[in-house]
Every structure is written in C-alpha cells, then in structure tokens.
Subunit: 358 residues, 2 copies
C-alpha cells in the first residue's frame, strides 16, 4: 500500500525532477506512475488497413529505405491508438543490407541470406556500418521527432545473436541448429562474428539516437532458444557491448527476447534499463528474477487479442496488477501484434491501460 | 557421495528387489543406477537411411496403420544404436484419425485438419475411441514386445492440449492464437473438448499397455506456449485425467513438452513418474523445481548433434553430471532428433552414456 500511495502523490506533483517527461521515459527510469505507459511491439504493421494500403506493391526492404514511408508507417499506430511511444518502422536486417550483405525479406518467410556465414572468410562480407549507409534512417527519425509532438520515438536494432542466427542459418530457423553448432564448435569464429554484429547494431542505434530517438530496444528475438549457460558464455558479452556503448547517451535501453524466462536476470545484467518479458512469466515473478535495478515491459499474450473483449479486459487488468510490484512497468504485449489482430482491440487496450488506475 | 556409493553397490548386486528389471524402468522408478538409460525422442525417423528407405512412397498415416512397418521402424534405432528403449512408431493424431476426424499428415507441414473445431457441435466429430479402431497398434505392440527381447517398449499419446491445438488451429501453429482465444473465451467448450481428447489419449495408451508396452509418454509438445496459470487452470486437469487413468497399470508415465521451464512442477503434479525437460533448464535445476517425487528425462540440445564430437561429448558428460542430482535420470534429447542428424553421432552418444560412470 505504501508504494501505491507514493505513486499517486508523485503523479499529482509531476515527476520528481519537476520536468514534463513523457510517461514512457519516466517508467523506464523507474519513476512512479499512476498508470503504465503503453505501446505494442509490431504496432506499425499488418494489423492496420492503412499500413497494408501504403505497403501495396512496395517490398519490405524498399519501404524501410524510404523516409516518407518509414515516417508514415511509424506514425499510423500513434494516430490510431494513442499509444505512448512510436517505434521506428524498420527491420533488424536493414543495417546488414546496408553494409552489403546480400539478403532479402521474403513475404511469408522472413529474411533470406544469399550466402550464409560458415567460415572466417565470410566475415569479410560484414564490414563496419558507416552511418552514411543508413542516412535514410536518420532522416526518417528527424522528421518523425518533429511530427510526434513529444511522443517518444523508440529506435531499435537486432541483437548480435538473433542477427547471427539469420546469417548462419541463411534464414529463419526453428531449431537454430547450425547456429548452435557454430557457437559450440568454433568459438573463435562465433565470437568474431558476434563482435562484428555488435558493432553494426551499436552504430545503427547511435544513428537513431543522434537523429533524436529517445529510447532504444535491442531485439534478441531468438535468445530464448538458448540455455542460460550458453547465453551467458556466448551471447551476453556481445549484447553487453552494444548496450554499454549507449550507456552515456541518456536514452533508456530496452532489451527483449521471447521465451526468455531462464534468461531474464542475464538480459538485465547485459546492461538494460527495461527488460521485456513474454507472457510465460508473470511480471511480478519476472521483476523478482530481474531485481530492483530494472523496469519491466510486457506482457499480454498477443494471441489473447483474438478473444472477446471481456477476456482481453480481464487479462489487461491482471498484467497491470502484476506490473505494480515492479519498480517500473511499460505495458506491452509479450511478443509482436499478430497480423490478424483487430486494430480496434488494440485501441481499446490503450484506453483501458490509460484509465486503469486502481 | 552417499548416493553414488549406494548407486554402485546397487548396480553390482542388481536392482533392490532382486529382479532383472530393464534400466529404463529402474530409472523411472528412481532406483539407483551407475549410468543412465538412454533413448531419443524421434529416434525412429528420418535421421536413419533405413527409415527413409522403408517409408519411400508410403504416406505417414498409412505407415502408422501397417503393423509390419510400425514394427520394422520401431526396431531400427534399437538395432542400430543399442538404445535402452524402443518408442512405438506412430503419430499423436493417429487415434483422432481412427475415431473419424478428417485429417492428413502433410510432408513438410504436419497434421492438417479438414474441418477445425470451433463450436460445440464440432465435438460430435470426436467420439470415444473404441480399442478395436486401433487394433493395428495393439498388433504391432504385441509383435514388438516379442522381438525386443526385454528392451522396453514405450507407448505414447498426444496430450489433450497439444491435440486440441491441432484441432482448433486446423494444423501446426506458431502462436496457438485461436486455441488460446477458445480456451479463454469459451471455457465450457474448451473443457468439453479437452475432456474428450483425454478419453481418446487414455484409451489409446491403454491399448498399448494391454498389448505389452512397459512405459508410456504423454507428449504435450506445445504446452510451453502457455503461462503456468493458464496451464494449471485449463490444461492440467485434463492431462491429469489421462495419467490418473493409468496409475494402477504398473507402467511408468513420462510427461514431456518443450519450453516448459515454468511448467515443470505442474507437469509432475499432473501425475508423472518422469518429467521430460528440454535443454533450456539444466537437469539439476529442473529436478529441484520438480521435487524428489519424480525422475527426470533429458536434456541434450538436439541441435548440438550437428556439432563435432568433442562438443557433443562435453555436453553429454555435462548432462549426465547434472542428472546425478535427480532421484532418477533417463538420458534423452531435449526434443526430437533433427532429421539431418548423422545417425553415427547418436550411436556414439549411446556408447558414451553407457560408459560414462563417473
């Protein structure tokens, strides 16, 4: 009860430093809030008819390179749902394409790599990212920050492990078998590969922050395929390099993967301010595992948005209640919005989260 | 140290009751052993050239209905690898097909259901299983027990949740969204559906036990998609019905799903003698979560079998060492054998497990 009283009075007098900081940033910095800020992973995407319209006939990678489309698509869910953050419309393979990796994003499949990484010489195909190679991203971010009128823009990048999995497998993979075989069988090549990918991710995020992104999320979508021991030994140091490289830039660092119940404390230790949690671990339990030094983000099961409203309402309220025991809570889904989600359901969730002070 | 001494002397004098019980059954009953017994999920399958040969031109469901093929395919890995158990060659949808559900197993896709279950009336299409509808399974088991010369045969069935997911989605699903929407949105229909599927699974397992199967595994492959709260409320009671129905039949009950780190104690509580664990949770930690009343099974990452032998050897030894703190350990993979696994690697793993007394 003490912390709830504290939350209310803090809200009524504004944030502790007297500034009018957006709710997303306050929650990420573990400042008290009456209701959590809310956004949705993959909110800018196929669930929206206006998205499907502007993407008609435009391949994914081309859309990611056109600042006009990036701007429009990023703004769509902010306009429609009134979420507390925009997330840059892009793809984790965009910086890989920018440095010259021969890849495409195939509809219904995902990223497909022409020549997968299998040996040391293949690393020559992954040079350092020059910020000028993704100037269209910086341009879009600059435009967006102007049009968002204070709603924070979250930049993002793929984490080294998840990028490595695409590069080694040649595309999406269920079992990540070649990736794991390389990780265990050739630790030197593995480490060199992830180090390069950490550099790419770090530069990509810095471009976005330099252009005005107020927060960043490192997506390690497939990290949950690993045991904690493997993650700690073979992945964490490289993700930590990315996150440490941003430590002095004053933007909260979100860190997310799916199925990461065993990895949550390690994902915090990698240097996160906010750890994203999927729906498998309740937020109170997740926060206990992560410790008091991080806020949490999540964790409504996106599949439940296909149920009727009473089910969604009950689950949203439960997530908010669970999140109250964390030192900070950003409401989100436990994974990306499913394409066949009714967008009105998302709007209702935002309204409920915003009104759901206990 | 006490338990290790106990193990050695127990092995040297035979099992405590003086019988010559197979190692698999002793481990499942938490009797001490010097080395764990070993078998592999999906050991009878595409990793074996002799399997691909006998399956040539024979659709999966037809193969499952032909006792000669079931017998041959089930025996292949026992002959080749010297594993400590055979697992019946079948598929979890076989009893559904047997009761008349219009489905097929499509190569490269999985089970495809012609008319998915969406409403109460659809339950009429899932009548009770009459043992005579799967007499070919009983016939194969009888033949197998004769040919296995004491190596135990493990029977199996799909658990209600995993069967329900196929029936509701119409096929394999990444997100189980319709399944979860039904579970939350229409609990009465959900419960009725899972109750029917529990009956089907129970009858299917009893047919196998009556014909001589010495152990059974309930596969809840997709249960890891659920939170513990949802599993406990909407799934556990139905899996428990299946496992309780076998309690008096004197065969150990294995219970397995992938990505079930959060569910392990619940999967034990459902009535398992042995809980299968994937590679995400080390066996010592898994056993601590499960408690002393169950043995554990697992948990080498099948992806690692694509690495070189030194990597595999190190990981096999680690799994065995982790398993020593459990009250019983059946060595297995953390999921099924990947089709592109070199079968010689599996044979070497069996040899190592059998020789790996500390």
């Amino acid at each position: 009860m003490a912390s709830m009283t504290q939350s209310r009075s803090a809200t009524s007098i504004g944030s502790p430093d007297g500034s009018d900081e957006p709710a997303l940033l306050r929650a990420a910095r573990r400042q008290p809030a009456r209701t959590p800020p809310v956004w949705f992973m993959r909110q800018a995407g196929r669930s929206l008819p206006e998205y499907r319209k502007v993407r008609e006939g435009v391949p994914m990678l081309e859309a990611c390179r056109r600042p006009d489309l990036v701007t429009e698509i990023t703004l769509q869910p902010v306009r429609r749902h009134g979420v507390d953050a925009a997330i840059l419309f892009s793809d984790i393979v965009v910086p890989l394409r920018a440095v010259g990796v021969d890849l495409d994003i195939v509809a219904g499949v995902g990223p497909v790599i022409a020549e997968p990484v299998r040996q040391l010489a293949d690393l020559d195909r992954i040079p350092r990212l020059d910020p000028g190679q993704v100037d269209y991203v910086g341009d879009a971010v600059t435009t967006l920050v102007g049009e968002l009128h204070g709603t924070p823009l979250i930049g993002f990048a793929g984490a080294p492990f998840t990028l490595a999995s695409y590069l080694v497998e040649g595309g999406p993979s269920r079992d990540h078998a070649r990736t794991k075989a390389l990780m265990h069988g050739d630790p030197a090549l593995w480490s060199a590969l992830l180090d390069r990918l950490a550099d790419v991710a770090l530069t990509f995020l810095k471009v976005q922050i330099d252009a005005g992104a107020q927060a960043v999320q490192l997506f390690d979508s497939w990290a949950g395929a690993l045991s904690a021991a493997d993650y700690a030994a073979h992945v964490l140091p490289h993700s930590a390099k990315v996150l440490a490289g941003l430590a002095d830039l004053g933007v909260p660092r979100f860190h997310f993967g799916v199925g990461t119940g065993e990895l949550l404390p390690l994902m915090a230790r990698a240097g996160a301010d906010v750890v994203g949690v999927d729906w498998r671990v309740p937020l109170d339990e997740a926060s206990a595992r992560i410790g008091p030094g991080c806020a949490v983000q999540g964790n409504l099961d996106p599949a439940l948005l296909l149920a009727d409203w009473p089910v969604v309402e009950r689950e949203v309220r439960r997530v908010i209640a669970d999140g109250r025991s964390a030192p900070g809570h950003v409401f989100n889904l436990g994974h990306g919005v499913l394409p066949n989600t009714d967008p009105d359901m998302l709007t209702r969730v935002v309204e409920l989260v915003h009104s759901a002070a206990d």
